[in-house]
Amino acid sequence: MARYTVFMYKKSDAPEVDPETLAAQLAEHDAYAREMLEEGVMIFGSPLEDHDATTSIRADSLVDGPFVEINEVIVGFYVLEVPDLDAAVAIARRNPILHQGGGVEVRPMPGDDGPGAAEDAPA
């Protein structure tokens, strides 16, 4: 089994949607998360609060807000556990954000067979 983090992105200048549309969109995300849980492929996932709510820290500073302004911001993420990339992509493709004007990135996480794996890790 392999783990992937799926990052969900939205344009930072995306127009605000009316409350009804927003409720419908969130319902889609809830349903999608439930499906993944039932399929046993999701380990963890969460939406993120607004990009502006970020606290940025460097060695010598602490700043209210993101360090860099970017066009696309992460609005949520999921950690999946599936056999391979094909399975991860098939699940990520169903993410409702794809027809809500956003996009996703699928990023592999090092597994127990990867660099630094323990000698006695199961094959």
């Binding site: 399929e39 056999p83 990339l85």
Partner: protein, 449 residues
């Protein structure tokens, strides 16, 4: 059977010179056999070995060593009845030794995903659940049979792995030539006109991407195979375009072999048949496309008598069968165009109106400037150079950097007697990038103009 070492050197009558010549001939013969086995079996031997090592680099090393070992072993013991089987056994034995020697060697990176069972038999995840659901709709018994046939062919796994949509397009082409066709990095670099170091880096990065992302080495399940098949055809199509150049024979052979394997997997897939037809026609004409000095020969001047008629007929039958089954996809249309041009015994007998109509259908799939250029060439044959030139000018802005555009323009201008402009177009063509053999021909034409 005589064995090396049993003869006593220096014994009177052992006749050093003739025996040396015989040995040299034998050596050359074995080298040829090994080279032929390399072309014919490299991909399947690698596939058989990767299943064991689940590490592409280690498997490639073992296969390479098996071929080196074959040079000596086949000279001493004779060529085995099944060279491919011998090579696979030898490579796998080396792989086992290597795995025993250094477990950590393959631990530097995650192992390749290589499930033993057919995807549909695997437990649960949704992608496969979806493909099973679609398989049920299409008729479970038939799909189950296909799936079993599918998993038996390990080479297919590597074909689909190398053309995986998560890899960058140029990486797919390089990996296909390396993992499926067994071309060396230097050969691949030469075919694509890039430096060897650049190509080596591209291959390394692509292999790393496969293991880090866990791109599975498997034949896609019923639900996704049609889309994935098109990805493979797209790669092979680039190989054909490359194989068309002088010196591209290895690439062309590789493309044909991949298509033959795909045609076994999906014997009635019109797009596979269309592209296979196109590849076979390129092979049929291979000997006449360039002259002895490597200069390209125009289609009208090629010696049709020297074309391989068996290959032409096979390609024609593939196209006719696929069209009869209702295929109208772009690769089949390209195959139909190539067949329409190649089947007649004389250039004058080609039905160019039909070729133009086929190009119109192809444009509905691929409305690109290159396809329009092909249509204009056919139009020039069907309706005359003036009609073709009128349309050609509309492509001038888009194809100005494309050498064939200027070569075609020069040819059409020459046909309507505009020799000054034709010479100017030839000079422009020479300024554009292109194969050296073609440049040599263009220089001669410019001098003669």
């Amino acid at each position: 059977m005589s064995r090396p070492g049993t003869g006593r050197p220096g014994t009177p009558g052992s006749g050093g010179a003739p025996r040396g010549a015989a040995a040299a001939a034998r050596e050359a013969e074995v080298a040829d056999t090994v080279a032929a086995a390399h072309r014919g079996h490299w991909g399947s031997v690698l596939a058989a070995t990767v299943g064991l090592t689940r590490d592409l680099d280690l498997a490639e090393d073992c296969v390479q060593e098996a071929f080196v070992q074959a040079l000596t072993a086949w000279r001493e013991d004779g060529v085995p009845g099944s060279p491919g089987g011998w090579l696979a056994t030898t490579a796998r034995r080396r792989a086992l030794d290597a795995l025993r020697r250094g477990e950590t060697l393959r631990r530097k990176l995650p192992l390749l995903i290589w499930d033993e069972a057919a995807p549909a038999d695997e437990a649960a995840p949704s992608a496969e659940a979806a493909s099973v659901a679609e398989a049920d709709e299409a008729g479970p018994a038939r799909i189950a049979d296909e799936e079993r046939a599918v998993v038996r062919d390990e080479q297919l796994r590597l074909i689909f792995l190398a053309a995986h949509p998560a890899l960058a397009p140029e990486a797919r082409i390089a990996l296909t030539l390396r993992l499926v066709a067994g071309l060396t990095t230097a050969q691949i670099a030469a075919a694509f006109l890039v430096g060897e170091a650049t190509m080596a880096a591209r291959l390394t990065r692509a292999k790393k991407r496969i293991v880090l992302s866990r791109i599975p080495c498997r034949v896609p399940g019923a639900g996704e195979i049609d889309a994935r098949l098109v990805d493979v055809l797209d790669v092979v199509s680039v190989l054909l375009a490359t194989g068309e150049r002088a010196g591209g024979e290895d690439v062309l052979h590789a493309a044909v072999r991949i298509l033959e394997v795909l045609a076994e997997l999906r014997p009635r897939h019109p797009e596979v048949q269309g592209l296979l037809a196109q590849a076979l026609l390129l092979q049929a004409r291979a000997a006449t496309r360039h002259d002895a000095r490597g200069r390209p020969v125009a289609l009208a001047q090629q010696d049709r008598g020297a074309w391989d008629r068996g290959l032409v007929q096979r390609a024609d039958a593939l196209v006719i069968g696929a069209l009869a089954r209702g295929g109208r996809g772009p690769y089949l249309l390209q195959g139909a165009i190539a067949a329409a041009v190649a089947v007649p015994a004389r250039h004058e007998d080609v039905d160019w109106d039909e070729v133009v109509a086929l190009y119109d259908a192809l444009l509905a799939h691929w409305p690109t400037a290159i396809v329009r250029l092909g249509r204009i060439v056919a139009l020039g044959e069907a309706r005359g150079a003036a009609a073709a030139l009128a349309q050609l000018e509309t492509l001038g802005a888009e194809l100005d950097e494309h050498r064939p555009f200027h070569v075609i323009r020069a040819e059409l201008l020459g046909r309507i007697g505009a020799h000054e402009e034709a010479a100017e177009a030839l000079r422009t063509a020479l300024e554009r990038r292109g194969p050296e053999g073609e440049s040599a021909l263009l220089r001669e034409l410019v001098r003669g103009a």
